[in-house]
Amino acid sequence: MLPWTRGCRSVRSVRLDPYATVGFTIYTAIAAMAVFARQLAPYDPKAILKVGNRIARYLPLSPEHWLGTNSSGRDVLSQLIWGARSALEVGLTAAFAVVAIGTLLGLVAGYLGGWADRVITWFADIVLGLPFLPFMLILAALTRPGAGVVIFTVAALLWPNTARVIRAQVLSLRERAWVEAARVTGCSTARIMFVHLLPQVLPLAALYGSVAIGWAILAEASASFLGFGDPEIISWGGMLQESYANQALSRGAWNWFAPPGAAIMAMVLAGFLISRGSEKLLFPKLADQ
């Protein structure tokens, strides 16, 4: 009960900050797009539209097609809206995985110390050295391209940063008198970690999670752009890939590639803004300086 109420209060106070407000607004807008895609999208994103008998390729902006159509006659706006869904699915799942793994390992390493800390830190250092894109592409080549590969790569490669920060926070919390008091009043090690310490580190973990969302979406777009995405799913990266393959730039069809690019940028920016706004919440002393 308690971690949630505290979290809600933090969310409220974060909203008061202008940076975080903008970030949250972007997230909310894109989430709305994803959830209400069916209601919002004017057309089926995969439907090939026709004008008379001819396929409606490269239509310019018009009241029927706010963002025009692409080379195969599909409505760009509808694709953009539906693309939000896969972006969020990938983004949120990957972010959750990063937070979960990073927090758990950081908590264990920070509190238990000793060999657990050494092993986890060593492991984190190695993982940090792995290059993101090659890893993802090799994995995609070995298994099957799609959202699963992206989520797995983000989770497997991005947890060390979260883990490090959580570990540092736990190291300092460990010295506090009330943690010792928990020991003296009979708390087991597990209880101290998960009931006493975890609620304290969750805000920081959530902050890193929000940055991870942006990363995951970027990763998915990169994979799709390089042709390693799932071709059956409408995604922003897929839109970029298609527009590139059809030389949309030289045709001047900016309405095709600009919106998905802008959407990706917006998500990454939102993650950054929220983390910036949360700084005041988590590190209030910095604000005074």
Partner: protein, 321 residues
């Protein structure tokens, strides 16, 4: 007539050493003590004397480098995990800093429920026990305090909650490390009186750690004086203060100011400053500052010897002072 009572806590030959900047530091060297049920022992000394480290070892918050601790019939020196946890119900700690001793996110009720939960007290009893202990520490009516958070309370109120948390599992021994040093003067008396009353009515044994001899005098029947990791004198508090046997105790007693204009302002019978590193090797740790130091003091570490019933001192001076 003094009957031989089985001590509740008996520690022998406690040592704690660690490495610092390539040197071996003896934070605690050869400390032995015992506390009988219902007795209050004070451990007094200045910073770096090892009193806090000793207290932490007694509660097994730190593992002794050497020595043995027997608490309530069980040898707890090397216990770990659940075996250690089960002894915790009987020995509790009161912390120095009331502002840091409670989880800032837990309500008072939650902080007080934790020990009950950990020690297997059935949930049906929780409410009554919490009410009873809050009344004991004079936070009444209990309902007014249960849902508050630590940041809403003053230092004195927080320390009462800390005390309540220590008393709620029904311990037989309380270790209080500077329990009032961070509180305002006007608030201290309240906490000390609660401690005294808890002792009297519950028959608790207590170990008080403090640098403040006046406080120790008020709450402890027996006192142990430590200097640079060693026990230098031990005995009934009033006697120890009135007629100190060890030169360090004598200087310590003389140094304490009192709230009377007419008090002793003579130069302290002590030389120099507390050295940064304990004098290593054999010899009395106090020899660099002792006005009565002899040649023997540099080569032979004095051991605690009895000089009167219940009084021991570690000094080479014949008949002490």
């Amino acid at each position: 007539m003094t009957a031989r009572v089985t001590p509740l806590l008996q520690a022998t030959g406690l040592e704690k050493t660690f490495r610092s900047r390539g040197r071996i530091v003896h934070a605690v060297a050869d400390v032995s003590l015992s506390v009988s049920p219902g007795e209050a022992l004070g451990i007094v000394g200045e910073s770096g004397c090892g009193k806090t480290t000793t207290a932490r070892m007694l509660l097994r918050l730190e593992e002794p480098s050497a020595g043995r601790i027997v608490f309530d019939g069980t040898d707890i020196t090397h216990l770990h995990g659940s075996a250690l946890r089960s002894t915790r119900a009987r020995a509790q700690l009161v912390f120095q800093n009331p502002f840091d001793a409670l989880n800032p996110r837990f309500s008072i009720r939650r902080s007080l429920t934790e020990p009950l939960r950990n020690f297997g007290v059935p949930a049906s009893e929780h409410r009554d026990r919490i009410d009873a202990v809050l009344r004991r520490v004079r936070l009444t009516p209990p309902e007014a305090w249960l849902d508050r958070k630590p940041h809403e309370l003053s230092g004195g109120q927080l320390q009462r909650v800390v005390l309540a948390r220590a008393l709620i599992p029904g311990p037989r021994l309380i270790v209080a490390d500077e329990p009032v040093s961070m509180l305002d003067v006007s608030v201290r008396a309240g906490i000390l009186n609660v401690l005294r009353e808890a002792r009297d009515s519950l028959g608790l044994a207590a170990i008080y750690i403090s640098h403040d001899l006046a406080l120790i005098r008020y709450v402890c029947e027996r006192t142990m004086v430590m200097y640079l990791g060693r026990v230098v004198e031990e005995g009934p508090t009033a006697e120890l203060i009135a007629t100190p046997a060890h030169p360090y105790t004598r200087a310590l007693v003389a140094a304490v100011p009192v709230a009377r204009v007419d008090q002793d302002r003579a130069a302290l019978p002590i030389r120099g400053n507390l050295s940064d590193t304990p004098t290593a090797g054999a010899g009395c740790p106090f020899r660099d500052r002792c006005p009565h130091a002899m040649a023997r003091c540099a080569t032979e570490t004095p051991l605690l010897r009895g000089i009167a019933p219940g009084r021991r001192v570690a000094c080479h001076l014949e008949g002490a002072l």
